[in-house]
Amino acid sequence: MAEMVKLFVNGQEVAVEQGKNLIDALKVVGIEIPHFCYHPALGADGNCRMCLVGIEDGRPPLVPACKTPAMEGMKVLLDAEHIKKIQHDVLELELINHPIDCPVCDQAGECTLQDYYMTYSLDDSRRGVEPVKKGKRMDLGCGVVHDQERCVLCARCVRFTRQITRTGELGIVNRSDEARVAIFPGKPLDNRYALNIVDICPVGAMTSSDFRFRQRVWFLKKDEGICHGCSKGCNIYIDHHREKYKDDMIYRFRARTNLQVNGYFICDEGRLSYHRENENRQSQTRVDGGVVGFEEGIKAFRSRLDTARKPLMLLSADCTLEQMWAVKRIANLYGAGLSGYSDASVLPGDGDDYLIQDDKAANRKGLELLGIDSSKESFMAALQDADLLVNFNNDLFFSNINDELRPLLDSKECIAVCSHARKLFEKAAIIIPTASYSEYGGTIVNGDGVLQLFRKAVTKNDDPHDILEITRLLGGAIVDAARAWPGIRQSVAVLSAVQPEQIPAEGLKLQSSEEPHVGS
């Protein structure tokens, strides 16, 4: 635990963490110091000068808060007239060459410059001269579109490519008010995290070609979620909106800070994976090729299960702990086999040493914890034996390693509970549409053993049923996520004390039961 110190802000005493820079230290106690260039992931650069504060009895009397560590007894001046004037003046200078095209700017509504203008200025412009002309709509690669005129030259983007991805594609060229962010000729952005630049750019200078002009941000409902793109479980914002007469759609994912899991960033693939939540969804219930109502589908599902000699249930490694538990219970009820075989969602060598993992499943650890066999051998053996495969959203053909399985799979009767229309499910006798992860909530355990809770974000017009709900309709006892927990707690030692609602925001790092006991 860091040591706390007492210092004074505008004469008022506050207790903050010693040594933390004033921006972060005072933020904890609810005091905002305006800033553009400082970013906790990138450190202080000191270039924007928006964070200048006074230190009474200090030498020099004006310091950038981002570079000033909190110290005992420090007297920080924030609301003095001369400090307010500096904030106002720096903003005026920031705006003197700014296009102020907020009406057509994607950032409007979540723009630091716009917000600060409303908070610290509101003055009329004194620009009586022509602004500097710079590049517009520049394609920097990786779907990042740059507007040099909107740029406040905070160098966050540049520092991101140097410090975080270490790819260094960006630099600031030229001096004075001709300075601008640029790439080397013919060397565009080329890394798997480039779109984070759009998130960290405080203004509308870096936009995403994917999101540009698609939605005004103030219409977006910003819910917290967890990316299901791989086993890292990066924290995200799910920004979605239901346009009049239309369906609830996701417009973008953005990185959400979780220092225990993903830090401040997410990968581009994960960020763009929201498209999969919107597109190619399985919406119809089908029985033997014909479209039927959902209830009818469930009825058929039940009767096939009842009559099957040897059903085999297959879980997706993306399912939540609660869903897995519920399916496990249902498998018991029907005397069915159960497998979590999902090797196809591991792409060896695809991961890196940062966030991206080889394993594209969000909750493989969950399968392990619940003791659900996921080996290929046992799945194959059980499948040979089975006369009915009930597939809970497991895309065995996610990669091509299961191609040889096709004939065998084709020879078995299959019931698919699926969120997306996929080749694998086309031949299923019964297709039951189900919710995808933005439409349900639950807990998952990432590859590093961090247990995280997420909640339902999107509600479709025709809201698909969660797997949990479907198991209930099949006669299962787990009627909601909470009802799964007494059983989970009882059967999984490392989860025995978990109260899902009390999982901290940064997740709960589980003590691995496989960890060897050291010493006596």
Partner: protein, 426 residues
């Protein structure tokens, strides 16, 4: 008035060659140097009262003493030969006329501060000067004054000549360090100061060419001999570059403390063509201008300049005669600092360009009195809000012209008022 301490060998033909320089006393202090302890050398320099000749006038010995003690890191010296401030042309004389005096000074400094790797950062535009300097360094290596055993003693010293690429800002000491490190020349925020975290994150001393070149005299003759020249608080001599509207522009070595007007009249031949004096820039373009009235009481030392609300600066004196258009001068001045702003921090990057456009607007006859007020205000809004003092190097003199010659700006504004009606819609 003139003295020849630093410039003693300037008039000797080919004194930039080791052979000639040596025949006239170069490197003679080394024997004495190695009989002293580094602490004694540092004390001698402190006692001499030598002040940094790069512009700020910080006492050289005191700066050295800021180096942390008991280091586990190397110490570096960077000799600042960027000399890019308009009206400043003193260091170049040392570089081409007596580079061995500077190299000798580097040895003295490095011995005192425990440095074994020194850099000479020379401005990119000094294309002929760098050849002479490099040759001198090569000669010093060949003669054993640099290298593994300096002067045959157990002291290694390597000196690297590093060329800039033509940016005024690289004269600012931390931008200079960035540039040596191969990065874009942009000043670092201070603290930490370079004496603690400098080149390659190691403790580093940055001194001006002339500061370093002053060391051989001090070491050879002692602090008291140096203090014979100059004033109590501004001891020694200085190379003054006198330019502008005088009869005899040039570089003159003078003891500090001389009356400014007397120097202009007696040394530089007075205002040229019998014209009247309009103003004097006392120490390079970044120093606030002096009116003829103010100049009467000014002496050429740090204290007198400060008392007259200007700065000693780099010793680059510019004499302005009555024909000078102050508004055009200011346009020229801002153009330079705007062009040289590294563009890193907001007030300097955006502000200087804005100021330049306003002055251009005035000159075009499109400005009003409110533009003059805006200029004054912008000086205040920019100054001291920035990472380095380049912005102040522009706003301080500009403010002085606006204050002392406001009528000239108003004349341009008035012109507009009479020539064109204000057509702006309100």
């Amino acid at each position: 008035m003139e003295v020849k301490l630093l410039s003693a060998r300037f008039d000797i033909k080919d004194a930039h060659l080791l052979e000639v320089a040596k025949a006239h006393g170069a490197y003679e202090t080394l024997d004495k140097l190695f009989t002293m302890t580094p602490v004694q050398v540092m004390e001698e320099v402190k006692n001499s009262g030598l002040r940094g000749r790069g512009g700020a006038g910080f006492p050289t010995g005191v700066k050295w003493s800021f180096l942390p003690k008991n280091l586990d890191k190397p110490v570096y010296l960077a000799v600042n030969s960027d000399e890019s401030e308009p009206a400043t042309f003193k260091d170049r004389y040392i570089l081409v006329k007596d580079p061995h005096m500077m190299i000798e000074g580097i040895i003295i400094c490095c011995y005192a501060i425990g440095c074994h790797d020194a850099y000479i950062y020379i401005r990119g535009e000094y294309t002929s000067q760098v050849k002479i300097l490099q040759k001198a360094v090569d000669e010093a290596y060949a003669a054993g004054y640099l290298g593994a055993a300096v002067g045959g003693k157990d002291f290694r010293l390597d000196v690297t000549v590093h060329r800039g690429a033509g940016a005024y800002i690289c004269g600012e000491e931390t931008a200079l360090l960035e540039s040596i490190e191969g990065k874009k020349g942009q000043p670092r925020s201070k603290p930490p100061f370079p004496a603690v975290v400098g080149l390659y994150d190691c403790p580093t001393i940055i001194n001006n060419v002339q500061s370093i070149a002053s060391l051989p005299f001090i070491l050879a003759n002692g602090a008291d001999a140096y203090r014979v020249y100059g004033t109590e608080k501004s001891p020694g001599t200085h190379l003054f570059g006198i330019s502008g509207h005088v009869e005899k522009p040039g570089m003159y070595e003078l003891p500090l403390g001389q009356p400014l007007l007397e120097v202009i009249d007696k040394v530089a031949g007075g205002v040229w063509k019998g014209r009247k004096l309009k103003g004097i820039i006392p120490g390079g373009s970044s120093t606030p201008v002096l009116t003829p009235e103010e100049a009467k009481t000014v002496t050429l030392d740090y204290e007198s300049m400060a008392a007259h609300k200007t700065m000693f600066g780099s010793g680059g004196i510019v004499v302005l005669d009555e024909t000078v258009d102050i508004v055009k001068l200011v346009e020229n001045l801002i153009s330079f600092y705007h062009h040289e702003s590294c563009g890193q921090c907001t007030p300097c990057r955006e502000g200087l360009g804005w100021m330049l456009k306003i002055v251009k607007k005035l000159l075009a006859g499109d400005g009003g009195r409110e533009d003059i007020d805006l200029l004054v205000e912008l000086c205040d809004n920019i100054e001291m809000k920035t990472v380095c003092v380049l912005s102040a190097a522009c706003t301080m003199p500009v403010r002085s012209y606006l204050n002392k010659f406001r009528h000239e700006f108003e004349a341009y504004a008035a012109e507009k008022a009479s020539a064109k009606p204000d057509l702006r819609e309100e």
